[in-house]
Every structure is written in structure tokens, then in C-alpha cells.
């Protein structure tokens, strides 16, 4: 029997994998991929909870908006990454250190 708990555990695991990727990767595109994983994990939660919300389907509606947000973030983010690459010749955050810390 597939229950709510299974979905929530999958989502929690996916979220933590995304978090791990964002923390450990130094390549901007890899970090973006990690962020997409985190958004997907949140979407699983929304869709699953929305199963019990048959009249309003609030979770599914929110998930739809999240997908749009993810798409626009990815578009802007990759444009930024490409321009940074054009200027610094790298997409590695360690080598992008014009600003002193």
C-alpha cells in the first residue's frame, strides 16, 4: 500500500540531496541543478497533500505556479551564468572572486 508517508520520505530525501548538491558543488550550473531538485521535492509535497483537497486542489495549483517560477529562474540564471562565463572564462565560483571577502 502506497501511503502519504512514502511520498513525504521521497520528497525529504530529494530535498536533502538537492541541499547537499548546492552546498558541495562549486560549478554554478551544478548548483542550479541542486536548486531544481529542491523545488521538485517541494512540488511532490504539494501534489501529494493536494490529494486530500479535492474541491480546491490548492496544492496542485501552487505546484503549477512553482513550475513557472522554476522555469523563469532557470532562464534568468543561465543568462547570468553565461555572461559571467563570458567575462571570467569560468563558471566555477572559486575562481570568480573579484570581490574581496
Amino acid at each position: 500500500m502506497i501511503t502519504l508517508h512514502h511520498y513525504l520520505l521521497i520528497s525529504a530525501l530529494l530535498f536533502c540531496i538537492g541541499l547537499f548538491a548546492v552546498i558541495t558543488k562549486r560549478n554554478a550550473i551544478m548548483m542550479l541543478m541542486g536548486i531544481e531538485l529542491m523545488l521538485n521535492a517541494a512540488n511532490i509535497n504539494l501534489v501529494v497533500f493536494s490529494k486530500f483537497d479535492a474541491q480546491m486542489l490548492q496544492g496542485q495549483m501552487f505546484a503549477l505556479f512553482v513550475i513557472v517560477v522554476a522555469a523563469s529562474e532557470a532562464a534568468v540564471g543561465l543568462a547570468i551564468i553565461l555572461r559571467v562565463y563570458g567575462l571570467f572564462k569560468t563558471a566555477n565560483l572559486d575562481e570568480i572572486d573579484q570581490l574581496k571577502h
Binding site: F15, M38, A42, D53, F88, D97, L99
Partner: protein, 461 residues
Amino acid sequence: MITLVILALVGLFLMIAGLFDISRKAVFGVAMTGMVAALAGNLYMWDKVPMAYFNRMILIDNYDVAFITAVLGVSMFLFLLSENYFGKIQNYLTEHYALYMFSLVGMIAMISFNNLVMLFIGIEILSVSLYILAGSEKNNLSSNEASLKYFLMGAFATGILLMGITLIYGASGSFYLSGIEQYFTSGNELSPIAYIGMFLVLVGMSFKVSVAPFHFWTPDVYDGSPTFVTAFMSTVVKIAGFAAFFKLFYICFSSVIHYWVEVVSVLVILTVTIGAMTAITQKSVKRLLAYSSVSHAGYMLMVVLVGADADNLMFYVVAYSISSIVAFSVLMLVQEAAGNAEITSFEGLAKVNPLLGFAMTVSMLSLAGIPLTAGFMAKVYILTSVFNAGHGIVVLVAILTAMVGIYYYFKVIIAIYFKTATEERKLFTYNSSSLFKIVLFIGIIAIIVLGICPDIIHNLI
């Protein structure tokens, strides 16, 4: 509601206007007129019965009207200084203006939200516009680096915030503030996911408003962005961020305050301490203002900690924003003339240009919280309410760090008055247009007037 529509339409109009060859002055005029119209539409809602729009997606009461007024007022004030910034933009000028208008749309959505969908979309519109604006100096390496770092951290924070929102939805079954409030006040045993949801929302919002220890992106981003954008981010955006933060926690989670009050007080203590300690060693005034904005975020967070008295928050953000804008306007002129933002560039400023020196001094005094300035009254109000709520340690730490703050703010004042300018620097012409002078005059007067009779703004809500 009308405010939101006007600003979105002005943004669209500006984009279309970009097709035609219109002068810079006209574009500026359209944007300002749009903001004035939006402000008028907003003020019309003052003291009316709270109005809900579009199936209660947004709900506007006096709290929202007051904060939207602050956002619009401060951004108009800031836009008066925009001449040099926009003057450097050769191509796509109207598109940049449109981005500012759209970011204001986002801020209004996130202040007046009544459903977490609106909060989320508002934050995203604001953030995405800011990622682009932070990188608006296309060939400047630091501007692009700031844009990239801001994007990565902002998107990461979005992920955390969203996860928190989903868990709260799972516990309460609603995205409406009233539904969530109902769940938390029902007195039933809270579901474990509600706690984690609350915690993740707290972390996500802390990232967005740069509360320590989630502030680490702030100095680089504020330092790298064009100074005008930095001023926009550290004043207008902060007002909107804290308005949303306070509203969310006040309405939804204040009935379970005992679960998060300790976490938030630790965040407050960390924020004011780290902000002050790291500001000491800074040599650049721009970076100093970035760290000072972190420690001021700590004071704004204290209002969330107390969970009441929105008028204290209102007064604080207005006092802080006016003082910061005065400081940033002087910084912009000095940076223009000297080519950098180091404290040494400010040496002897009082002799070369007394008005700029005096304005910078007043704003530094206000940011440091010296009596007779707006910043002092703002700190007094907040610390009193924090003390009354029984957080003695927080007040103690805040006062100690404020003393440290006096040290680094006075470093700038000493440079202005007691150091002599190099021969080369004496010849600088500070290209202050009449708009700059108007902003400086209004700013200085406002800081002093609010410091003497704060009741003009306090107790409004």
C-alpha cells in the same frame, strides 16, 4: 489593488515607449508620475474597511497601506538620485525602468498578500528583477559577480522557503493566512511537520532579508552591485521584506510564539553582533554600509521577535531608509569624483564641500543612533518594546553592539572633519545636481524632525 495595476501598466507602457525615441527626462517623468499615481491610489485606501480582492488573494488594511506608502515613498525619494545611474545606461534604458516598476509590483504583492501563493510569487518577481538589476553594469566584473552570487543564494533561499510553505500546507490544509492561523490557534496538538515548516520558512525569509547567519551573501552582493541598486536593495527591498516577514509571523505563528521565540532571539543577537563586528574592519564605505544594513536588519527582526507593535517597525524602516539614502547619495557623489568608495576618499570632505560633509555626518549619527536623530528614536521604541517583552539579554547585546557601531560610524565622520584632503582631492568637483541637493535637504530635515517629534509617523497604524 489599484496600486498594483497602475505600476504593472506603467511598466508595460515604459517597455512599449522604448520602441520610440523618447528623451531620458520623459522616461524619468513617466516613471515618477506612475509612482505618484500609484501612491495616490494607495493612500485612497487609508482607513477604509479592510478590502479583499480576487477571492481573498490579497487583503488591504491600514498595515498594508502604510508599508506600501513607505515602499513607494522611499523609492520615489531614491529615484530623484537616479540621474547618474541611468545616465550610464546607454541601451535599453526604458527596460531598466520597467524592471524597477515590476519589482515594485512584486513588493506590493508580498506586502498585501493574504494567501501564500501571492507571497511566493511576489518574492520571486522582486528577486528575479533584482538579480538582473544587480548585474546592470554589463562590463563590470564585480557587478556580474554580485548578480551571480545573488542569484544562487536567492534561488537556494526560495527552495528552502518553498519547502517550509509546503509543510505548513500539509499541516493546516490551507494557503490562506486565515486558514493557517486557524490551525495554529485551534489548540490541538501541532503536527511535527508544522514545526519543521515554520523553521524552514524562518530560514528562507532570513536569507531573503539577510539575517545572520544567513547573511553571508550580503556584503559581496551589496558591494558589487551599482551603488544605486545597492541603495535600492538595502532600503526599499528591506522594507518590503520585513513587512512580509512580520505579517506572516504575526498573523500565522504568533499563537505558538513559545516554539520559535528563542530561535529568533538567537538570530537577533547573532545579527546585531556579526553586523557590528565585521563592519569595524571595513575600509570601504560601501561595504561598511552593507554590514551596517545587516546589523539594522537585526533591529527590524526584533519587532518580529516581540510579535507586536507594527508601528515600531514602520518607524524604524522609515528612519533607517532616509538615513541610508542620504548616506548613499553622498557616497554616489564621492564615488563618482574619486573613483572608489574607500573611507580615505572622504577625508577633508567638509572643507571641500560642506553640504556633503554635513549630510553624511547627520546620516551617520542617525544610523549610529545618537539622540536628536530619527535613528535614536527608532532604536528607543524597539528596545523598549523588546525589554517589556522580557528579552533583557537581547537589549543588552543590542546596546553593546550599538556602542561598537558608534566607533565605525564615527570613523567616517572623523575622516570628513578632522583629516585634510590631499591636494588632488581638493580639486574634485562633486557634481551635485539640484535634485541631489533637494534630496539631501529633505533627508537632513526629516532625520532631525523625526528625531524630535517622532509621533508624526509613529502610532499611525
